[in-house]
């Protein structure tokens, strides 16, 4: 009888309750973790909008009583690093001048390289490629000093263009891998058909591969812009104070020993520096995830 009662019960999957215990636990945990991840961002923004007296009195989580944008203005135009007191704007423009050519040069070279490796295999290519990929894991510290010598001898040490070369070199392994894997995934019939029609190395690259691989170029741009903008080590080694990129200047502003610490200005400067990669991240969304996954999983 009992069995029959069960058999006669409602059919189909049990309707899910939105507020089941499992869901509360699940979403509760996720929200708590999400709050933890968001706290630093929140504190940064709040601190940068307060005046110094308010920071000294209140706690860092409290929203500002009196919103002021003065710290932002000060961080951008007036904050001091050593003797220069023209704010982060200088570092920003340096970073732009470093990032744009580095991204263009490294992607142009790496895409052609990846294409040659994927479609025009030749003997010895794998050896170079293996060395290149190994190079991606070698700590930069092993290679920085010889590069200093090379750049110094070429008269490019401390120049922005020298840093562009360094970024192009060190961006090469990951980008070449990215492009090689992408071009390998393009059906080979396409390539063969173009060969039969008489297209050469460059013809196939510009007429077939390039138009087909726009997404991977976007991914590469995201990867490189974020990586180069966020770089600190190369910036501090291969440039001089006038040419410091934004990250180095930010660190010098915040961690300078002399003077009263202006926490609000520091936080405004920190947000300003993080703004470029964050914007890219929020705008690009899925492509960013794909970029880091593609760059990493197969590395």
């Amino acid at each position: 009888m009992v069995d029959a009662a069960i058999m006669d019960g409602p059919r189909g999957p049990k309707p899910k309750k939105t507020l089941s215990r499992r869901n509360i636990m699940l979403y509760g945990t996720l929200i708590v973790i999400a709050v933890y991840y968001l706290i630093p961002l929140y504190v940064m923004v709040m601190t940068s909008l307060k005046g110094m007296p308010e920071i000294r009195l209140g706690n860092i989580f409290a929203p500002p009583v009196e919103i002021t944008f003065e710290p932002w203005v000060k961080a951008w135009w007036e904050a001091c690093t050593g003797l220069n007191c023209d704010g982060l704007s200088r570092g920003f423009w340096n970073s732009v001048q470093i990032t744009v050519p580095s991204v263009l040069v490294s992607i142009a070279i790496a895409s052609v390289n990846g294409y040659a490796l994927a479609n025009w295999r030749f003997k010895g290519a794998n050896l170079f490629f293996t060395i290149l990929i190994f190079g991606a894991f070698i700590p930069y510290q092993v290679m920085i000093y010889p590069l200093v010598i090379m750049l110094r001898e070429m008269g490019l040490y401390t120049k922005l263009f020298g840093l562009v070369i360094v970024h192009s070199i060190f961006g090469m392994p990951i980008l070449t891998l990215l492009f090689r894997n992408y071009f390998t995934s393009i059906p080979e019939e396409l390539f063969k058909a173009a060969r039969v029609d008489g297209a050469g190395f460059w013809g196939i690259y510009f007429r077939i591969m390039l138009p087909m691989s726009l997404p991977i170029f976007v991914v590469a741009v995201i990867l490189q812009v974020t990586g180069i903008w966020n770089d600190f080590l190369f910036g501090v080694i291969y440039t001089k104070p006038d040419n410091y990129p934004m990250t180095v200047q930010l660190n010098n502003i915040v961690n300078s020993v002399q003077g009263v610490k202006e926490y609000n200005v520091n936080m405004a400067a920190t947000i300003l520096t993080g703004l470029v990669p964050l914007t890219i991240y929020f705008v690009s969304g899925r492509l960013f995830v794909r970029g880091i996954a593609a760059g990493a999983v197969k590395g």
Partner: protein
């Protein structure tokens, strides 16, 4: 005969190149310095043998002609570069003076390249004469004529791989055995730098910190990353919102991360003050100012920055797992946590290994975070090897120590990397 000459020719060129690289690295022993030229001369003899075999040289009317001309042009350019580094030319042409240093750097390279290119041109001429109709492509042809555009396009890669990665690494390793101080020297002094390194307190602290940071970072980021990914994989709503939140720190630089957490952990304003204001007057939480805890303060920031990325990797791995497995496990009545631990995780081994390698590579490189968050303080309590290297190379003017320390970093990377590469690539070839 032809086979032998071609083989000899190619081997001589390859060995000459290797010898040249070794000299560039700093091994300037007389034997090695002369070796490239002797080997190139031998290759020249082999080329002459080929010409003899072909009974004379003719500018064949096939594409070899153009390759040969191309190599001659390259040789002329290299010769030109070499000439620009000569004193007489520079004296005659004062405009060059401003670039003098640059030309001088390229002088040995240009000379070597010029000799090499001439030799290759001769080799191609010989082959062109020998094989006018291109009936049976020989070794030389395959090396220098087939698929030429791709090889030219790969020159930047070859330059980066050999010219930068191999030569720089070799150069640093070699000079870690010298007594370089303010300037690099080539006087060999054996293992002295390493002995001094391992008896320096600051280096030992750095290693200890790296070990603590590394082990904790590996364990926590793998565990947290996996748990987050497992939570995200429960077919939740707003997945993309959560993912965006967990991953955004990864877009920020280590400098920004370090500075934010420096601010959050400042005792007089940050977490400590908040808790004290809640009524716990004696609460102390000042990891950045306590020598015993400072490395954990850095770890905290690093985890905040990096776990989102591990989560994305793991999530991709979880999504790749067959849904049937979940159904089968449910049918068998296996609880969810058991399914994860005993079925899913073993299946995700490749993802874990990849994540492990990436995290490990990042651990050894950690530098900016420490600089931004603590500048190595209090005292030397949060020093890390990468910072030691930088400070000794560019601040302490003790290059030899810097080279020795960076070589140690390289060794530790290889300890991780070689077994992994062996498992990942070596095994596949055999299997």
């Amino acid at each position: 005969m032809r086979e032998l000459a071609e083989r000899g020719y190619l081997w001589c060129i390859a060995l000459a190149f290797v010898a040249f690289v070794l000299v560039t690295i700093g091994l300037d022993y007389a034997v090695l310095v002369t070796a490239p030229w002797v080997l190139l001369a031998l290759a020249g003899i082999a080329a002459v043998l080929l010409i003899v075999e072909a009974r004379g040289v003719a500018l064949a009317a096939n594409r070899f002609k153009w390759y040969a001309i191309g190599w001659v042009v390259a040789a002329v350019v290299a010769m030109g570069l070499w000439a620009l580094a000569q004193k007489d030319v520079q004296a005659a042409w004062p405009a060059l003076k401003s670039f003098r240093k640059m030309w001088n750097v390229f002088e040995p390279f240009a000379l070597f390249a010029a000799a090499l290119f001439v030799l290759i041109a001769i080799g191609i001429l010989a082959i062109g004469t020998l094989d006018k109709g291109m009936h049976q492509p020989g070794r030389l042809e395959r090396t220098f004529a087939v698929n030429m555009s791709a090889k030219v396009a790969a020159v930047p890669m070859a330059f980066t791989a050999i010219g930068v990665f191999v030569i720089s690494t070799g150069w640093t390793i070699y000079h870690s055995f010298t007594n370089s101080k303010l300037l690099p020297k080539s006087q060999f002094i054996g293992l002295d730098q390493y002995e001094r390194l391992w008896s320096t307190n600051r280096w030992l602290v750095s290693i200890e910190n790296l070990a603590i940071y590394g082990i904790c970072m590996l364990i926590f980021s793998l565990v947290i990353g996996f748990v987050l990914a497992a939570l995200m994989d429960q077919k939740i709503r707003f997945e993309s919102v959560f993912r965006t939140i967990f991953l955004y720190p990864f877009a920020l630089s280590f400098i920004v991360t370090g500075l934010v957490w420096q601010w959050l952990l400042t005792p007089e304003f940050g977490v400590q003050k908040i808790v004290r204001d809640l009524g716990f007057e004696n609460f102390t939480f000042d990891p950045l100012f306590n020598a015993d805890w400072v490395i954990y303060g850095i770890l905290f920031a690093a985890l905040w920055q990096g776990t989102g990325f591990v989560m994305v990797l793991m999530l991709a791995g979880l999504r790749g797992i067959d849904q049937e497995i979940w159904k089968a496990a449910r049918v068998d009545g296996i609880p969810m946590w058991k399914t994860y631990i005993f079925i899913v995780i073993p299946m995700m081994r490749p993802v874990f290994v990849t994540a492990l390698v990436i995290i490990a590579a990042g651990i050894i490189k950690v530098y900016d975070l420490v600089v931004a968050q603590t500048s190595g303080g209090p005292g030397i309590a949060s020093e890390v090897p990468a910072k030691y290297v930088y400070d000794l190379m560019f601040g302490g003017q003790n290059l030899g120590q810097g080279f020795a320390a960076s070589t140690m970093m390289l060794v530790s990377v290889l300890v991780v990397l070689i077994p992994w590469a062996y498992l990942e690539f070596g095994g596949r070839k055999r299997g």
